[in-house]
Amino acid sequence: MTDSETTLDPVLISVMANRLDGIVREMTNTLLRSARSAVISSARDFSCCLVTGDDKLLAAAEGLPVHIFGCHIQTENMRKYHEGDIQRGDAYLDNDPYGGNTHPADHTFMVPVFFEGEHMFTAVSKCHMADIGNSIPSSYFVRAKDVYEEGALVFPGVRIQRDFKNIEDIMRMCRARIRVPDQWYGDYLAGLGSARIAERRLEAFCEKYGKETVKAFMKEWFNYSERRMIDNIRRLPKANLVNKGRSDPLEGVLPDGLELTVKIDIDPDEAHIHVDLSDNPPSVDAGMNTSLGAATSAVVGAVFNARDKDLPRNEGAFRRLSFTYAEDSVVGAPKFPHSCSVATTNVAERLVNITQSAFAQLGDGMGLSEGGAGLGAGMAVISGHDERRGGEAYVNRLMLSTNGGPASPEADGWVNYAIPVIAGLMYRDSVEVDELKHPIRVESLSLVTDSAGAGRRRGAPAQQIEYGPTDGAMTSIISCDGQHAAPRGAVGGHAGTAGETWLIEDGTQPSRLPNVAQVHLQPGQRIRGRDSSGGGYGDPLDREPERVLLDVLEGWETREKALDIYGVAFSGEIDDETLAIDAAATEARRSEIRETRAP
């Protein structure tokens, strides 16, 4: 009955879009709740999406922003590698950063979904695995000089199931090389199970609506999403934005870190945004190179941060975005065999910050400040042997403390932010759960007073953690990119504070560790990590005194900082809760600060 010109009833489009969104949510819930490693079940380092049979991203629900772009390249490769031999019951594994994937730690499970013999969708679950067989016990290897030193097992669109049964060769390969293989296998079941659930639901979806209506829907849904994006871009001023930032140094490899540049060309007339990433350094001999998928996702995510919060994230919206990359670059264009081990964090975190704060150049009310960055000690990968369980090996990423989020024009920074590419979606570990699962004791974990980037809207403060092994040695691998260049403020907001890591041993002075560190802790030794805080947005002198009062009462900021930076003076005391704003003194102090500023 239909041809490509048929237009569907808009109500039906809403209904069908809602059903697909429900399917992605079900995938997400399944994966989250049934996964084994904390990196998935707590840190939520995974995402689920649906791609059309012809490789267009269709629905992504609330997946991790850094996973948003690239799945369509992976499904395209899957179809290319297995042309003529893809059938119902198959499943494929891909983690090739040179084939659209983010980084090798992200095992991507792809299930092609057929209806009436036609490949209609591919259901995709992308999961960060706790271990992927790297040469060090961490799936983040900052110092890997190339893929060989990195050591990850790489699966370029490899078939892992046929007729709904595992291809045991692949399982044996993984079990032979991946640490704590049962944990990997549990996460494999969770990831694959999530894609298989989508398959069942999508088959029923096609059954209900019929193939032609489903196809017409996809077309209309992309057009709708594109219209939303057009509307969003049309509301921006025409501008060429250039913003630069810097990654942390890497001892012995990159003494000055990397200067990173994002150029954004906004054309409201054409309703188009072009992002030029070509002005960036060539690939580096470290794991910091960002894959095409990771770099583009970081930038796309930041563009979405700056626009309507409910914009559909799919191919239709992407039609209004374009990108250029250099021939050989640490940003989006690594040259083989350079390693992309930490492609989703370090440089990608900086790209998110640079891009979202670039929009703030358009004026107050636009963009965001920079968020706290870097996987510090509270997000380290720990490993060792648990004497309580007969010396059983363990390896896991912690999510005990996090960086502070950026301030926006409307709101203060989000406390549980993690890093710019996770953007607050993760769960925190429970101290008790971590102490039960691993031979670790957390000594303290709290917010750091006065650490936040001041502004009309304040960044979220830093957090500080101290922990060590209870018995036996423990390795803590920290791949932090947030200890030198502190997150910057926007539109007059102040910068946040950078992170720090310390080694503590009773009876000796704490010693500062580099931002990227592999620490072997003996019982009695501890690690102290302070995360970075978010930058502020807008002039701190414009912050409502009531907000400053609450910050001081609650110990987020001190009375001294309130007076020095926010220009808010108080009478009374905190302890007996008589603290009150002294309006006259506040006005005087604010004028005084304004006058001392250079014209």
């Binding site: 819930n29 709740r33 914009l311 989020g405 709101a411 979606l425 101290v431």
Partner: protein, 691 residues
């Protein structure tokens, strides 16, 4: 001659259900009076007593049992009227209540502030002490410093104290010691110790439960005591029971000790009602209960005749609010109801909600300056509501206003007014379908094999098409649908839970440790029973559960224990098998090779203080009633259909009504869509056939 009364005081309305000696329900509804709850209750009593044909005072005097459900605690939290509460925790961890558990809605949404902790940081005090994960004392409690802290609390006039120390579940000595010091230094100040209230793993959940509970103690103690006095002055001499968040009820004394258990007690009773109705109508043990109000749509479940519980229940939004921590009947709420606003987004698609016109200004047709089109306006335009008989004729509606606001939307969409109104219903249905889908799927329940029990004033507008979309053949819509939770209380039991944390796994299962935990749980349950005045000789049942998971998973599943103790390897194997089956049902995966870890242990005692209402005799005389009138209604076809309208109070048992039709009950309206049908059962429920 004796009556049984149940009362559900909501934010807006107080619903009362009176069970008369013949087994008939009578409903009374009145506005809630937040300042003195008993006033609204007595107003509702007047209405109900009128329906029974008795004087209110006489009726109350002849009432044996009164079950009271209240949102008092919830409202106190929302309006910040709880006690000035201090939070005591282990040194180094003062931010447990600030950090919560993480999670955020909308990865690109930076428009809202991070939420404040339940108890402010300035009311948080650190106690020098530390216990390790195996219960070992790492740092002994510094009593001198603890005394100083408590003296400070005294000086600063704190009204309640919440104590939650790390690993108090493994060794409660430090919390017990603080309890003794509080009684010494702050005599009469209520306090809650986390290991007694909620001995569960995860410091935030335990701390949050403890903080909420302590903050409610002074207030709920006063409220419940006052309520008992007011009732006694009104002539009531029977037993007063209070409904709780586990879908049961308890005596006033035990709730004063754990007021947190009154939170969400209203919604928790809807599944209890659904279970009873499904049983009365012989519809099996799996039911989905939907309660449609003005601003929210609540969904709960009954599986295999059992209520479904969750530890993941929040005051306020998930992750951003405060977790209740204690186990509650799992009821999920979405922002969709009669007041949800319809709008067109920048891409040209029609959306419904999440904004709501609420009751002020309310839908445009209420004539209170509402100028946004809502679901209720759409129902009026479609002819589903008689503007002169809305809420039994108590609220006069303005059809012209509804047509005007829907007309404006229709112009934007380039559709007819009728089509637009119908589209609003379809989209609203979608939101509800997704909400039902999420809870059923999450719990492995198949809507196709379940019955829907619908309640709430706005349920009848669209429950039939929703059921059809879900593949669910039958809906039970009780005549008393508008007071579903109060009805549920009539079928409830006294329910109490006890928990112990005892970590073990299937590789080296600690049978003795687990049995000791189960012994302690059972002893606590029996102590609870022995303390009851109401139910001395009543029938009891006890169930045990493990909160279990595969090795290294983070989230547990409630697993019913197949035996009451773990006395042999076979008992352990049976438990592990139940876990595999549960995991398979919920996540479609069984991992036979993985060790299974058990984290918490739970016992639940149910005591029947009274018998549920008798099921009616089965009626077999079906008939086709005459319509009271007809009206043009629109069902998405090209033209409106002249639709028969039935008045509920004129219908007798066995009435068969084929769609299209509208059945108007005083407090609810049922739209029977074309091709579907309804029958009035002997029990007074509308059985809707949605095939």
């Amino acid at each position: 001659m004796s009556y049984r009364i149940s009362v559900d005081t909501g934010g807006t309305f107080t619903d009362m259900v009176v069970l008369d000696p013949e087994g008939q329900f009578h409903v009374g509804k009145a506005l809630t009076t937040p300042d003195r709850i008993s006033e609204g209750m007595f107003s509702a009593l007047e209405v109900a007593a009128g329906a029974v044909g008795r004087e209110p005072r006489d009726l109350l005097a002849e009432t044996e049992i009164l079950i009271y459900g209240t949102t008092r605690a919830t409202n106190a939290i929302v309006t910040k009227q709880t006690a000035r509460t201090a939070f005591l925790t282990t040194t180094g961890f003062r931010d447990i209540l600030v950090f919560k558990e993480g999670g955020k809605h909308g990865p690109h949404d930076y428009s809202y502030d991070y939420p404040q902790p339940y108890i402010p940081r300035r009311h948080t005090f650190e106690i020098d002490e530390r216990i390790g994960s195996a219960g070992e004392i790492v740092t002994p409690l510094d009593e001198a410093k603890a005394r100083e802290v408590l003296e400070t609390l005294k000086a600063r006039g704190f009204e309640a104290v919440a104590v939650s120390l790390l690993w108090s579940i493994a060794n409660s000595a430090h919390e017990e010691m603080l309890g003794r010091l509080i009684e010494e230094i702050l005599p009469g100040v209520p306090y809650t110790l986390s290991h007694r209230l909620a001995p569960i793993l995860r410091e935030y959940r335990r701390a949050s439960a403890t903080a909420i509970d302590a903050s409610l103690k002074p207030l709920m103690q006063a409220h419940l005591t006052q309520m008992r006095t007011d009732l006694q002055e009104g002539g009531f001499a029977g037993d007063l029971l209070i409904s709780t968040s586990v879908g049961g009820c308890q005596e006033v004394e035990s709730l004063v000790e754990r007021p947190i258990n009154t939170l969400k007690s209203g919604p928790a009773m809807a599944p209890v009602a659904a279970r009873a109705y499904s049983a009365v109508e012989n519809m099996g043990g799996d039911a989905i209960v939907c309660d449609t109000g003005g601003t929210t749509f609540d969904v709960g479940l009954v599986r295999d005749g059992q209520l479904v519980y969750s530890r993941d229940s929040w005051l306020g939004p998930q992750w951003l609010g405060d977790i209740i921590g204690a186990s509650t009947v799992d009821v999920r709420s979405i922002g969709a109801g009669g007041g949800s606003i319809a709008w067109v987004d920048a891409g040209g698609l029609l959306r419904v909600g999440p904004q709501s016109a609420g009751s002020q200004p309310g839908p445009a047709c209420y004539g209170r300056d509402g100028d946004q089109p809502t679901v209720t306006d759409a129902a009026l335009v479609l002819g589903y509501i008689d503007p002169d008989y809305f809420n039994g004729g108590r609220i006069a509606l303005d059809p012209a206003a509804a047509t005007r606001v829907i007309g404006e939307l229709a112009a934007t969409l380039d559709k007819s007014v009728d089509d637009t109104a119908y589209a609003i219903m379809v989209i609203a249905n979608e939101l509800m379908i997704k909400a039902i889908g999420e809870i059923t799927v999450n719990d492995g329940l198949n809507p196709r094999e379940s019955v829907i029990v619908a309640g709430g004033g706005a349920a009848g507008f669209n429950i039939m098409p929703i059921a059809r979309e879900l593949g669910c053949d039958t809906v039970i819509l009780p005549r008393t649908a508008a007071a579903l939770s109060a009805c549920g209380m009539q079928y409830s039991s006294i329910v109490f839970e006890a928990t112990r944390s005892r970590f073990t796994d299937s590789n080296g299962f600690d049978r003795d440790g687990v049995n000791k935990a189960l012994d302690e749980i059972e002893a606590e349950l029996m102590t609870f029973r022995d303390g009851l005045a109401v139910a001395a000789n009543s029938e009891i049942s006890i169930e045990f559960f493990a909160e279990a998971r595969y090795r290294a998973q983070v989230w547990e599943l409630d697993t019913a224990l197949p035996t009451t103790r773990m006395n042999s390897d076979e008992d352990v194997a049976a438990l592990i098998e139940v876990f595999h089956q549960t995991h398979d049902r919920v996540y479609a995966v069984r991992d036979e090779d993985s060790p299974v870890e058990c984290v918490n242990w739970k016992g639940r005692i149910s005591i029947r203080p009274f018998d549920p209402p008798d099921a009616p005799d089965k009626a077999d005389s079906h008939y086709s009633p005459d319509a009271a009138t007809t009206r043009n209604c629109f069902f998405g076809d090209a033209a409106p259909v002249n639709t028969p309208i039935y008045r509920g109070e004129t219908l007798n048992v066995g009435a068969d009504i084929s769609g299209p039709a509208i059945i108007e009950e005083p407090t609810t309206t049922i739209v029977v869509y074309p091709g579907m049908s309804a029958t009035l059962s002997a029990a007074g429920d509308y059985i809707l056939d949605c095939r």
